[in-house]
Each structure stands twice: as structure tokens, then as C-alpha cells.
């Protein structure tokens, strides 16, 4: 059954605040939660919400992201008339090769792609958020309110509201004002960067925005304010649940640590809303005879011979005999050799912490990212 809503995931720039983690892969392809990649979340949400066609917009050419999302079968998006498409800036007949000048421009430059599906609604998502959301419910709300656009919002603590784009609404959920990072916020409803637009109207407005020399072609800064000025119906749909923007090493580490919390609202084990990902042909997790594991989130292909405390271990990571991994995240294939210690750190994909070495500090202000092999001590 086809949906009349097409999704576009803004996979954005390089995610440079994630440092070396995004040197080789775009941010949406960064690993999370033991076995997932960040982009698995919006993609699985789309699949579970009955959306068949998803475009992934990325500025940063990434072979890995491309080949990863192109296998739409991982999320069940491989039936007839469905698919996942990576859309990088392309050279077109009537214009040169442009980079995406802003989030709205990224959509504008792919109007031809969207037109081939002739959708009624366009769902715009962010590729670096971790959350489970049923977009079909948001669409229902959008339709019930006869809205021109609906923006998903989440209640944030009032004292933090000035860090977000805040929506001020009337009693019926209609947005009357949008303030980007207000000094004195009037509400605590923060935009999640998730939008539903009526495609026909949006298409018209995008064509206008493309030609506007004063526009920075951004949804938050330009497109939404123009809609409000024109008196369009914009509604706020309040989302309740787990939502995390993983822009920095600290927040990525935190999002992983959240999985250890018994009251964690993300609940990845919910059988009615699975998050799909690439399956690795690896053994189950092997826990050795001397291992000590307290509070950990561990996936298949992992081998633990040492001590693991309050940590998340990704596919094929290894903890050698006598090694200690505390308050840390071992990304896919990371190895902590015999007797080494890792504290409050993220060890990047495939990185080896040599025998007897020690990285990270208890009570450090920031989480240490270890992105290069550390040679082991001689015996």
C-alpha cells in the first residue's frame, strides 16, 4: 500500500563537531547503541510509519553512507514502488553544480526527484536525531488541522528553552510566532526539525525562495517565517518520548549511556517498533571465564575477557583479559588489549588500545575520543 507522503532526510554536512568520527563517514552513518547507525532511526521510523520512498540528502559525498542506505532491504524499503535514495548536489542542465545552500535549498534542488512521485505531503527529517516516532500520527494531526505545515515540537526544560527554536502557539496548536533561540522564551515547545508540508504549496514557495537573494534558504531562518508572514496555517504537534540530537562527542556518548538507564524511554526492545539495521554475520557475544560485567549494553560479535562497567560495546569490539572498560563506549571493532584501561572515553571504529595502556580519566569534564591506535607497552 502506498503512502501519499514522501520523506526527505537532511543528512546535512560533515558533523565536524564529532571530529574524527566523521572523517570517513557522514554523520548519519556514525554508529550508535551497539549495533545501529544514527540514520537507522529515521529510516526505521519511516518504514514503521508506512512511508515507502525516502530521500537522504547529503552534502558530503560519502560512499559508505551511499552504499549503506542504498540497500533499502535492511529497513524493508525494498518492495515495488519503495526505496531509499541518496541525493547529493547534482550538476543540472540549466545550472552549474551547486552545493546545498541551506536546508530548504536541499529540497528545492531535488524538486525533480520529488515530482516523479507526485506526493501530497512532504515529510522533512533530520538525519542526526535518535528517537522513535510514528509519522503517520503526525500526518493525521496535520490533516485534522487543515494545516499548510506542521512542525513536531517537544517540551524542553524552561531554563534550556533559549538554546532552541521555540514555537509559541494559540490554544488550538496553531503556531503564532517562531523565535530562534529567544533570550526570554515564552514557551518551552522546541522545534524538533521535523516538518510536514503540503507539497503543492511548498513547491511554489520553494521556487520563490530559490530566487530570493536575501534568503539563506534555511527552514528555520527563512522558510517558516515567510509562511507565518503570509498567514499560512502552521501547527505544532507535540511529541512525547525520547529524543536526542547527537551533535557532539559528549551528546553521542550520553545518548549511548541512556541505554543503560532502566527508565530509558527509548526502549529498543519494543517488538512493535523495531529499529532495523545491517545484520552482521558474527557469533553471539562471548563472555569469558574471568569476565566481570556490571551494567552494560552489549551486542553480538563482542568478546569480553576483562571487566566492563557502565559501558556500551558495539559489534565486534573486544575487551582483553585483565582490561577494564569503565563509563565508556567501544565502537565497532574497537579493541582494548590485555591489561589496558579505558575510562570515560569513546574508542572509535577499529581503534586498538594497546596492552597495558590507559586512556581517559574518571571525572573528566569532557568525554575523550580515541581515534588512533595506541601502541601497547612491551612486556
Amino acid at each position: 500500500m502506498g503512502s501519499n507522503m514522501l520523506a526527505m532526510i537532511l543528512a546535512g554536512g560533515r558533523g565536524s563537531r564529532l571530529h574524527e568520527l566523521t572523517n570517513r563517514v557522514a554523520k548519519p552513518a556514525v554508529a550508535y547503541g551497539g549495533k545501529y547507525k544514527i540514520v537507522d532511526f529515521p529510516l526505521s521510523n519511516c518504514a514503521n510509519s508506512g512511508i515507502d520512498v525516502v530521500g537522504v540528502l547529503t552534502q558530503y559525498e560519502s560512499v559508505l553512507l551511499n552504499s549503506y542506505v542504498a540497500a533499502g532491504s535492511r529497513w524493508g524499503l525494498d518492495t515495488k514502488d519503495s526505496g531509499v535514495f541518496v541525493l547529493t548536489p547534482r550538476e543540472k542542465a540549466d545550472s552549474g553544480l551547486d552545493v546545498y545552500r541551506g536546508t530548504a535549498d536541499a529540497i528545492s534542488q531535488n524538486i525533480d526527484f520529488i515530482d516523479t512521485y507526485d506526493p501530497e505531503y512532504l515529510l522533512v527529517l533530520s538525519g542526526d536525531h535518535i528517537y522513535k516516532m510514528n509519522y503517520a500520527k503526525m500526518l493525521e494531526f496535520h490533516q485534522e488541522h487543515n494545516a499548510d505545515a506542521t512542525i513536531a515540537v517537544i517540551g524542553v526544560p524552561m531554563r534550556e528553552a533559549s538554546r532552541f527554536g521555540i514555537m509559541n502557539t494559540d490554544g488550538n496548536g496553531r503556531i503564532i510566532e517562531f523565535e530562534e533561540k529567544p533570550k526570554k522564551p515564552k514557551s518551552n515547545l522546541a522545534s524538533m526539525g521535523i516538518y510536514i508540508f503540503n507539497w503543492k504549496l511548498m513547491r511554489k514557495m520553494l521556487l520563490k525562495d530559490m530566487k530570493d537573494p536575501n534568503s539563506s534558504h534555511d527552514f528555520g531562518k527563512d522558510f517558516i517565517p515567510v509562511m507565518l508572514n503570509e498567514g499560512r496555517t502552521l501547527c505544532a504537534w507535540e511529541f512525547k518520548g525520547y529524543w536526542k540530537d547527537v551533535g557532539t562527542i559528549d551528546s553521542l556518548w550520553e545518548a549511548n549511556m541512556d541505554l543503560l538507564d532502566d527508565k530509558n524511554a527509548l526502549n529498543l526492545s519494543d517488538p512493535t517498533w523495531r529499529i532495523y539495521t545491517e545484520d552482521a554475520a558474527v557469533l553471539p557475544q562471548y563472555i569469558g571465564p574471568e569476565a566481570k560485567i556490571r551494567r552494560a549494553y552489549i551486542t553480538q560479535g563482542v568478546e569480553v575477557e576483562g571487566t566492563v562497567q557502565n559501558s556500551v560495546l558495539f559489534t565486534n569490539s573486544r575487551v582483553g583479559a585483565g582490561a577494564k572498560v569503565i563509563d565508556s563506549v567501544l565502537m565497532p571493532g574497537a579493541v582494548v588489549e590485555e591489561g589496558a584501561t579505558v575510562t570515560r572515553a569513546m574508542v572509535a571504529d577499529g581503534v586498538r588500545i594497546g596492552r597495558g595502556q590507559s586512556v581517559g580519566k574518571k571525572n573528566s569534564e569532557n568525554i575523550l575520543l580515541v581515534a588512533e591506535n595506541i601502541k601497547g607497552k612491551e612486556e
Binding site: 545484520d279 557469533l283 562471548y286 553480538q300
Partner: protein, 372 residues
């Protein structure tokens, strides 16, 4: 790379019965090491050997096998060129003496005839081993033999491999006969129910078996023809297990907690494929104490686990102690329950009974979906 053989995977005959587990599914569908099913091994061996035309024969209770292997896509079989066929027999009574593999072949005779490859590799869905069939086929063709059989030299045939067959070989590895393992000695050449021959001979043997006796199996006819045909044995090295009794199943699993043995079976250049259930990683709580065990994904562990295998989505509550046991998917072990030397089947809940202690030589078994 394409192989010149097609694959045939056969299910266990009436000579095998695995207490408990077997009442619910064929051996090929038994869970293995927490994340696999036994049939993943022969299919992965074939796929890794470049065999992409595979027939899987199921004699009874096909649901779990059909669901698990599906289109075969997860076995890395080319979805256009390759084909994984599930073939059923009409005689559905698994106890019937007519429900044997020769009858399955006869019922699907035309399908076998239509295969356009000159050789066939036949392997059992109830044994665990790693074998490059391309290499075995090369050996077969080079030797000029009519039939090549794979066997494993074991030193515990008195207690294990009940119901399996034995190859009686001459000094040149020529097969003299195939006889049942009567447990008369520990050292035996256990037949791995794995054959290589030409498609023509295969079809011929099926027809001949039928004329000789309606209850003949493939190994019966090969054994009878051993005098006139050139039948040879090839010795298999490495990890081998026959999942044909509850004891053998139990030990085959626990033996692989020795990582050296597991490493021999699971090589990165020889992946064992299986169907994913998209389970999330496993959560170990503050009170968890896990040692020398294999743990599948989706678990929640608050108790103690030692020398055991824990399947997918298993929940182990606080104070529970599991030793030398196999807990299959979706089972739940309640607070303070002690389980030793036991196999707990899928979806079972152990809450009310506080202790289930089996004998290591004869493990206990808790039935599927039972609440005890």
C-alpha cells in the same frame, strides 16, 4: 563463483529422534549457539562454496524451516541466478516408514531431473561442520570415483552418534559398506551423510533404491552398490557434531564455549549466515554475573550465568542462577530459580519450580511454552 554442482539438503530419517525439542520442529530448525539454526550450517557451506541452486527437503513440520530460510536471500545466494527450493513430501506422517528420503526424492524426481548442473552435493540438515564443497567436488572429479562420502574419525562412538552410520573403509579409503553405529567401539569413521556424485548416478540410485525396497534410504543403496561402484571416503577435519540426540545437541552447543573450537567453525572468510530478528543488544544489569557463556541479542540479564548458552530475547531475573545450560529464545527465568544441566525450550517460563538440576550425562528438558 559458480559451482558445477547443485545442493541437496536432506532431513533426518526415522532413525533419529531428539527427545523433547524434536516434537516441535525438524532438527534443521533447532536453535544453535543462541543465534543460529542447525540448517544455517549446511546452507552457508553451500553458499560459501559457490553452490547457489539448493534444494531443501523437509519431511515434516515445515513451518519453522520455511519461515527461517524464506527466499534464502540472507544466505548470500544470488536472488536472480540462485534458487533455494523447499521441497515437501506428501506423506506427512513423520513416523511412517515410507516417509524416508528416497520417497521424497521420488516425489520430486522431475525437479531433480530438470537441474542443469552435472553434479550434486548432498548434505544433512542435522549436522554441524564446516566444509568447502568446491574442494570436495574437485577431489571427487580428480579421483574419478563414482561416489565420494565425507566422514569424521571420532573417539567417542560408544556414547555419542547414536543412530548415525559408520563407513567401513579399506586401506585406500575405498568404502566397503555403510553400517549403523552400534556403539561397539569408541574409534569409528562416522559417516557425515554427505555425498558427492553425478546427477545421472544420483537419479539412477533413487530409482534402484525404490526397486530394491520401499524403505531403503540413500545410504542403504550406496552401501549395497559399494562393490560395483567406486565409492570413496574423504576424511573431514575440524569441528563436527551430529545433532541427533538430546545429549549430542547439548554437548555440541556447550563444547563451542571453548573459543578455539568455535574459531575453527566460525571464520571471517567463511561466514555462517542466519536470519536476523532485529533484536536490540543485550542489557546486563548491576546484579548480572556472567562467565564463560555465549549470549544472543535482545536479552535482559539480572542473574548469574555460567558455562551456558542464552538465546535471543531471554530474560533472566535477579538471583537466578544458570549453569551448564541452554536457554532458548524468549524464555524467562524467574527470581531465585536455579537451573543446571538443562535445556529450556523457547517461550518457556520457569518461575514456580525453584530448582531444575539435570545430570550432565543426561540433561533435563523444559518444554516449549511451558510455565513451570
Amino acid at each position: 563463483m559458480a559451482n558445477r554442482a547443485f545442493g541437496v539438503i536432506i532431513s533426518a530419517g526415522g532413525n533419529f529422534h531428539v527427545e523433547g525439542l524434536h516434537d516441535y520442529r525438524p532438527i534443521g530448525a533447532f536453535s544453535f549457539l543462541g543465534r543460529y539454526r542447525v540448517i544455517d550450517f549446511p546452507i552457508s557451506n553451500m553458499s560459501n562454496s559457490g553452490i547457489d541452486q539448493i534444494q531443501v527437503y523437509v519431511s515434516s513440520r515445515p513451518r519453522s524451516i520455511a519461515e527461517h530460510i524464506g527466499t534464502g536471500r540472507h544466505y548470500n545466494i544470488n536472488s536472480k541466478r540462485g534458487k533455494l527450493q523447499l521441497l515437501f513430501t506428501q506423506i506427512s506422517n513423520p513416523k511412517s516408514i515410507y516417509n524416508n528420503i528416497i520417497n521424497s526424492f521420488l516425489e520430486n524426481y522431475e525437479i531433480i531431473e530438470r537441474m542443469h548442473l552435472p553434479y550434486v552435493v548432498i548434505a544433512p540438515s542435522y549436522m554441524i561442520y564446516k566444509q568447502d564443497y568446491q574442494q570436495l567436488l574437485d577431489t571427487h572429479v580428480e579421483s574419478g570415483a563414482d561416489v565420494t562420502l565425507l566422514y569424521h574419525r571420532v573417539n567417542n562412538a560408544r556414547d555419542a552418534y547414536v543412530g548415525c552410520s559408520v563407513l567401513n573403509l579399506n586401506k585406500q579409503k575405498g568404502v566397503l559398506s555403510i553400517t549403523p553405529n552400534m556403539g561397539t567401539a569408541n574409534e569409528k569413521n562416522i559417516f557425515m551423510d554427505t555425498y558427492v556424485m553425478s546427477k545421472e548416478l544420483f537419479l539412477d540410485l533413487i530409482k534402484q533404491a525404490k526397486t530394491r525396497s520401499s524403505v531403503f534410504t540413500l545410504s542403504d543403496i550406496v552401501s549395497q552398490k559399494a562393490e560395483e561402484l567406486d565409492v570413496r571416503g574423504v576424511s573431514h577435519k575440524g569441528t563436527f557434531a551430529s545433532i541427533t540426540s538430546l545429549n549430542d545437541y547439548y554437548h555440541a552447543n556447550l563444547d563451542l564455549l571453548d573459543l578455539d573450537k568455535a574459531d575453527d567453525l566460525f571464520r571471517s572468510n567463511w561466514p555462517i549466515y542466519t536470519r536476523t530478528t532485529n533484536a536490540c543488544p543485550t542489557k546486563y544489569y548491576d546484579t548480572a554475573d556472567v562467565k564463560k557463556s555465549m549470549i544472543a541479542n535482545g536479552g535482559q540479564i539480572e542473574g548469574t550465568v555460567e558455562n551456558s548458552i542464552i538465546g535471543r530475547d531471554v530474560r533472566i531475573h535477579k538471583g537466578a542462577v544458570i549453569r551448564n545450560s541452554i536457554i532458548l529464545a524468549y524464555a524467562e527465568i524467574g527470581e531465585g530459580v536455579r537451573i543446571e544441566n538443562t535445556i529450556v525450550d523457547k517461550w518457556a517460563k520457569v518461575q514456580h519450580v525453584k530448582e531444575i538440576i539435570g545430570n550432565p550425562a543426561h540433561p533435563d528438558y523444559v518444554r516449549r511454552s511451558d510455565t513451570v
